[in-house]
Amino acid sequence: MGEAIRLALAVAAKDIRLELRSRTALLSAVVFAALVLVVFNFARDPTAISAMDLAPSVLWVTFAFGAVVALNRAFTVERENAALDGMLLAPLPRSALYLGKLLANLAFVFVVEAVTLPLFVLFFNVSLGHALPGILGVTVLATIGFVAVGTIFSAMVVRTRFAELMLPVLLLPFMVPPLVGAVQCTARLLAGRPLSEMLGWLRLLTLYDIVFVTLCTLAFPAVVDE
């Protein structure tokens, strides 16, 4: 187990180093997320629906789109010079490879979310105040779930044509449960509702994470090995 974690960290560190070197995917995802917020901000009619009613959905749609852009890079970097084959040659447990990729993707998506959140506050004039720790907790819970699924789908589509198109088509339906849970929790947090009103949704998010991280770790070898 310790060896698998060491290898997973090595894979994650390599991915982060690669991204810091090129900054392509991270920058694209951040710019894309900011643009989504701008579009939502100018497209809504403030007389028909209040910013507070719309804010939770906008926040999570923005996070989701930004995450899809960031996840697209996860295995495309392995396509150059058949680098994925190079990793598969090594005595690297496939679960360690999956966990490494998951950790790196989580780091990228958290960065996108960390940049998006202040922009969201700015555009929608929302005061996070006391809700901030709760929103951060919900963000971590929901992000782990859809990034876990996105990581395996990213590996699945990388050898197909139009991989960038295939990933959202496959991933977005699986993002629905964590997004619904996160939107519900965020709405209640912003409205200052008690924790007891969102326990059911928090349970859903936790269960989703446990089930999909486990399933994806187990299924990953069948996806990457021929």
């Binding site: 290898l7 680098a83 190079g86 598969l88 040659l89 090594a90």
Partner: protein
């Protein structure tokens, strides 16, 4: 981890591979012992690259099995995987990292004790120390091939699989690489070299095989002179 002296370090039995209805490789048997090199030649589409990918464990055979140091090559057999080094058409290197960074990462995957030092040593062995810290995308084709060679040799594999390894190397680099292969043989490694140009490593090969249409058309001890062998090779390929 050491196999008995007489036992082959690399062995394949009844190896076959199909892609749907297309049978790319069938009934291939081979055994390569310590200090021995098998040179495999054949025309385009003969199945040479598929054979190497099967021997490396990157592809599963439709039939048959591969054994490395007596252990069956499977996903759950890390010791067998650890024993294999592959130099492919592709370099397996990340363009945005330097050769030093690429090799240090690979050394970590193989669990080498001092990854950075292992990477430095491997780059020194192929004469790439002076470009060790330049991004891979800035290297010329020949330097890339040297980096790929260093990557394949980094973990001191017992079995080395080489797919057209002289591609992109200039004459001095090719000569240096031949010396490196000779040193690997002297250390008791088993080598399989796939090539269109048998002359490049004729003297190093202990045995020679010709793959035509996915089958062994010939497999024998290397004749003394390449010139004597080439007419037979031409007959097998074109006849």
């Amino acid at each position: 981890m050491t196999a008995p002296a007489e036992a082959p370090l690399l062995e394949a039995r009844g190896l076959a591979r199909s892609f749907g209805a297309l049978r790319v490789l069938r009934g291939v048997d081979l055994a390569v012992r310590a200090g021995e090199m098998l040179a495999v030649a054949g025309p385009n589409g003969a199945g040479k690259t598929t054979l190497l990918r099967l021997l490396a464990g990157l592809m599963r055979p439709t039939e048959g099995e591969v054994r490395v140091m007596g252990r069956r090559l499977t996903r759950s057999e890390p010791e067998a995987r650890r024993g294999i080094g592959l130099l492919s058409h592709q370099t397996f290197l990340y363009d945005d990292l330097t050769p030093q960074e690429n090799l240090t990462f690979v050394a970590r995957l193989y669990g080498l004790r001092d990854p950075a030092a292992a990477a430095r040593d491997a780059l020194e062995e192929v004469g790439l120390t002076h470009r060790a810290h330049d991004p891979v995308r800035q290297l010329s084709r020949g330097l890339l091939q040297r980096a790929a060679i260093a990557r394949a040799l980094l973990h001191q594999p017992t079995v080395l699989l080489l797919d057209e390894p002289f591609t992109g190397l200039d004459a001095p680099s090719a000569a240096r690489f031949r010396e490196l292969l000779a040193a690997q043989l002297a250390r008791g490694r088993a080598l399989v070299l796939v090539t269109h140009h048998l002359a490049e490593a004729w003297e190093l090969a202990g045995r020679v095989a010709v793959l035509v249409g996915g089958r062994w058309a010939l497999e024998e001890a290397r004749p003394a002179r390449l010139a004597d062998f080439l007419p037979r090779y031409e007959a097998l390929v074109h006849g």
